[in-house]
């Protein structure tokens, strides 16, 4: 059973997170490197180019890679310090098997034997689908593709999903509905050419710092910037127009903007008539959606909405971007569509300086969501329920249709099925749901009830502590492969070093499990490039077509943009230049997005909005960045941001310890009073686990289409912490900066 056998503190003492800021060579004797390995940063969808300095099989530092065209050497602090993770003292170097007294080290043979026997035993008793897999999109394209094939053909389960379900599935859902393809429509090179930059629900400067440069280049050229965010983020601080709306009201704003565009005839009638469908229904749907109506819902003035509509409506060129703020809601897909509508209605897409895109958050969030570790998807962004799509993949994989499972459960539903004892086992790779799943108290209970839980990870994540078996895997810099950046550029990830100790590459772990499950024939690859070449064939003819992309081309051309169907094809930095979508009818599809309320809105009992997000110093669930001292010093733990008006009303002072409560859980944190947030909203960043997990409070309610949970909107209340809570916080906080032993 997946339970802790020791107190939490013992796991922390043994496996961390400990903080370390010492290069493997120490500071005093940094030698000249043997090699500078041109690869990419592992943190966030920008995938900035970076050179890792290697000496005697160790990563000893970095150099900016100024020739790489996207970031030209620019990095954020996570990128600068990422090399400190490679030889971190917390790295897992042996398989670990849970005993009554914590983990014991095991041999790989022992570990594989245990895993195989558990998979077989569970599947014999409860059916194939009772064993599941969770994956993550910090994995390379090759690994993502392999996980998709591994789960379906080696584990023979339909129940495979991935942590993109907590990230950008709503964007994918909206994009597929409107465009028939799921990719940013333009490369970032179009941003500086736009007259208006529209950023909705995206804290660009903290989550994608290097993209800020492109926005500033546009502003140097005179562009106006519109930001929609309940908080004054560093990018919102410099906006020309900041719509500081209530959490969860984005589609109302989108509808009012569309209403104004139509009312003032800022519409590209030729584009709408000849290249779009659904116009009449769309126009009808926003008839009543005046700025007054939306202003009331959103909590901003109608004048501001009118002004923004004018700026957007009268521009010649524009670039609209959004991210998790609008996507992580039960209306995620609708919010996305409401913004796509205002892009399409002005016809500003598929041309120079006219752009649209979601800013993908995870390292390989783009590529990872194209090649089949999503429960409903096959490589090349194919649909697992479409017979023609299935046929193509069966052919590439050399199997019959019966051997290919159908659609499985989405991430949250998967854990709910575990809780309901429908699913009894799981292999979890590259995912730390104890931090990143909504309603973490529920999640913990579900995990604890599992019969067998295996985690593949490079550090002991908080989730891994609950595992029956932990397999030490590899980091981004320990395996060859590719990833696809948020602008759709496929880039090369290089192995700078080997995994430490007895740790193995993720690929070799999966291949060995497949072999021991008797599926060697389906999984015989010469090397990772061989996997990529199979991925190319599998994606060929799909919307995310990698057919013409080779590793060599990627290296020579500094990345290739998909779709790229043949080797002679130059790649496609800008989609829709022919004014055709990827739908069979070639049209862009409008969808009406009538406004509806969030799952939970404030009431007398829980009078405030609760929302969460990221800090520039941490990456996702923090498994990597909470171990790097520089980053931990800058952002040691979560704080609750609150407006001074609200703080005064509640009688709080800055830095006081408070407890935030929702219907699902509580979190005790120091208060940070700032004018940069709406007075009816509090914000807690989510990178921490257990008592410090912001997701203790969030809701499990899902978007009906994308199945994305509503991380961004919940109702809460705030009170002073009790002495016990404050003491517990002090103890937890102390752990956050526990130093690693040299």
């Amino acid at each position: 059973m997946a339970r802790l056998s020791l107190p939490q503190q013992d796991y922390i003492n043994e496996y961390g997170p400990h903080v370390s800021d010492l290069p493997v060579t120490g500071w005093l004797s940094k030698p000249e490197p043997d090699a500078m390995v041109k690869t990419h940063c592992c943190f966030c969808g920008m995938q900035c180019g970076i050179k890792l300095a290697v000496k005697d099989g160790k990563v000893i530092g970095f150099e900016p890679w100024e020739e790489f065209p996207f970031n030209e050497g620019r990095l954020c602090p996570k990128g600068v310090k990422r090399y400190m993770q490679t030889h971190h003292p917390d790295r897992l170097t042996d398989p670990l098997i849970r005993t009554e007294h914590g983990f014991r080290k095991a041999t790989w043979d022992e570990a594989f034997d245990l895993l195989i026997s558990k998979i077989k035993s569970i599947q014999e008793r409860h059916g194939k689908n009772a064993f599941s897999m969770m994956s993550g999109v910090s994995l390379s394209n090759e690994k993502s593709y392999l996980v998709g094939k591994f789960a379906r053909l080696a584990l023979q389960t339909a129940n495979l999903d991935y942590n993109g379900r907590f990230c950008m599935v709503s964007a994918g859902g909206g994009n597929k509905k409107a465009f028939g393809v799921d990719r940013a429509a333009n490369s970032w090179a179009d941003i500086p050419k736009a007259e208006v930059i529209f950023l909705s629900g995206t804290n660009v400067s903290e989550c994608f710092p290097t993209l800020t440069h492109y926005i500033w280049k546009a502003r140097d050229n005179g562009a106006k910037m519109i930001v929609v965010d309940p908080r004054v983020t560093p990018i919102a601080r410099t906006a020309d127009y900041h719509l500081q709306i209530r959490p969860g009201t984005d589609s109302a704003l989108g509808q009012a903007l569309l209403h104004e565009l139509i009312a003032n005839d800022w519409v590209d009638h030729d584009f709408v008539a000849n290249y779009c469908t659904g116009w009449d229904q769309l126009r009808e749907s926003v008839k009543e959606c005046t700025p007054e109506w939306a202003g009331h819902i959103c909590g901003v003035t109608p004048q501001l909405i009118r002004e923004v509509a004018r700026v957007w409506g009268t521009a010649k060129t524009s670039f609209l971007m959004h991210a998790r703020g609008i996507e992580q809601q039960i209306k995620g897909v609708e919010n996305v569509l409401s913004l796509i509508n205002i892009v399409l209605v002005t016809g500003r897409i598929g041309r120079e300086g006219c752009g649209y895109g979601t800013i993908t958050g995870q390292g390989n969030g783009q590529g990872g969501r194209e090649h089949g570790h999503k429960c409903d998807q096959l490589p090349g962004n194919r649909d697992i329920e479409n017979p023609a799509h299935r046929e193509h993949i069966c052919k590439v994989w050399g199997i019959t249709d019966e051997e290919l499972p159908h659609k499985g459960k989405t991430a949250v539903e998967l854990f709910e099925a575990i809780q309901a004892k429908e699913i009894h086992g799981m292999i979890n790779i590259c995912c730390n749901p104890l931090v990143s799943h909504p309603d973490t108290n529920f999640l913990r209970e579900a995990v604890q009830g599992m019969e067998f839980f295996c985690v593949i990870d490079f550090f002991m994540s908080e989730t891994a502590r609950y595992a029956d078996l932990v397999l030490p895997g590899s980091l981004h810099e320990e395996e060859e492969g590719t990833s696809t950046t948020a602008e759709g550029r496929v880039v090369r990830i290089r192995a700078a070093v080997d995994p430490p100790g007895n740790a193995r590459t993720d690929t070799s772990i999966l291949l060995e499990i497949a072999r021991r499950l008797g599926k060697e024939k389906l999984f015989s690859y010469k090397d990772n490039e061989d996997i990529f070449n199979e991925l190319r064939r599998a994606s060929s003819g799909g919307t995310a077509d990698y057919g013409g992309i080779t590793w060599k081309r990627i290296e020579d051309e500094m990345g290739v943009f998909w779709p790229c169907p043949t080797e002679g094809h130059p790649g496609t930095p800008r989609l829709f230049e022919d004014r055709r979508s990827f739908h069979p009818d070639g049209k862009f599809h409008f969808h009406a997005t009538p406004y509806r309320q969030s799952f939970e809105v404030p009431n007398e009992e829980y009078p405030l909005y609760y929302t969460s997000g990221r800090s520039v110093f941490h990456y996702l669930s923090g498994t990597q960045t909470r171990r790097i001292k520089f980053l931990v010093e800058k952002a040691p733990g979560p704080v609750c941001e609150m407006h001074p008006m609200l703080a005064t009303k509640l009688g709080f002072q800055n830095r006081q310890i408070v407890t935030v409560e929702s219907r699902r859980g509580t979190i005790t944190v120091p208060l940070q009073i700032t004018e940069g947030i709406r007075p009816d909203t509090v914000f807690v960043p989510y990178h921490w686990a257990e008592n410090l997990a912001a997701n203790q409070l969030t809701v499990r309610a899902l978007d009906p289409i994308s199945k994305m949970p509503e991380f961004k909107v919940a109702a809460c209340r705030v009170r002073s912490a009790t002495k016990e809570e404050a003491d517990r916080l002090r103890a937890d906080w102390k752990n956050l900066s526990q130093e690693a032993l040299a």
Partner: protein, 237 residues
């Protein structure tokens, strides 16, 4: 052969407070883990505005002028260097006198260390580390022509006035087109005070009143993790 040095520009409005410059600076082989650049929060209770601060390489460096040991030297490129170790008596005069608050005397090393505009990189024709990694262009290393072409809506200036002291710097700051000099003055702080005055002490007193400085140690308080409430039950640290 030493490559020709270019101009360094700070564009405060672009800073997002990410501290990539600080992280990158610390990596340098000559100062091994300690950054020579700082990012300050301006008024975190009001706005997320932050500003990067590195050595401005004054044309007539105050730090060198007040150094009793003549340990601080400026080279022919206008770069002001860390104190010469054999000469430095670590008296901290430079630290106290610099109007930008840049030099830091390391009492263990008995030396003042500061930004030398990455001499090892710039002399080899590369950009300083901070200006290479800065994700927003808040720090920029290039020619005056490049800068004027790239950012036509602001302009570089290098004249500062601190009370009565005029300072011209090698490092440029980007300001709105109608600004001619940077003025740092606080006349009301000195109202009613006669004769010479310790401005730094006055500032410290002022900050103490506002709760930004620990009254016992006189150290500035880290923003995130301190307690300035009077209510002991709710205190954090």
């Amino acid at each position: 052969m030493i490559a020709p040095f270019k101009e360094f520009f700070i564009d405060f409005q672009r800073c997002i407070g990410c501290q990539a410059c600080v992280a990158g600076c610390a990596e340098c082989h000559t100062h091994r883990g300690s950054p020579m650049i700082h990012v300050d929060k301006v008024d975190p209770a009001v706005s997320p505005q932050t500003v990067p601060m590195l050595c401005m390489h004054c044309k007539v460096p105050t730090c060198a002028m007040v150094c009793p040991a003549d340990a601080i030297k400026q080279d022919e490129n206008g770069i002001v260097h860390s104190s010469l170790k054999p000469r430095c008596i670590s008296c901290s005069n430079c630290e106290l006198a610099c109007p930008f608050g840049v030099p830091i005397v390391d009492q263990k090393k008995q030396q003042m260390q500061k930004c030398d505009m990455c001499f090892d990189r710039t002399s080899a024709g590369k950009k300083p580390m901070c200006a290479t990694v800065c994700p927003t262009g808040a720090l920029f290393y290039g020619t005056m022509e490049e800068m004027k072409r790239l950012r036509p809506h602001s302009k570089p200036i290098n004249k500062w006035r601190f009370g009565k002291q005029l300072v011209e710097t090698r490092v440029w700051v980007m300001v709105p087109l109608d600004v001619e000099e940077m003025v740092v003055d606080w006349p009301e702080l000195l109202k009613g005070v006669e004769g010479p005055v310790d401005f730094a002490m006055k500032l410290k007193e002022r900050f103490q009143l506002e709760g930004f400085v620990d009254p016992e140690s006189n150290e500035p308080l880290p923003f995130n993790m301190v307690n300035d409430t009077k209510d002991t039950e709710a205190q954090f640290l």
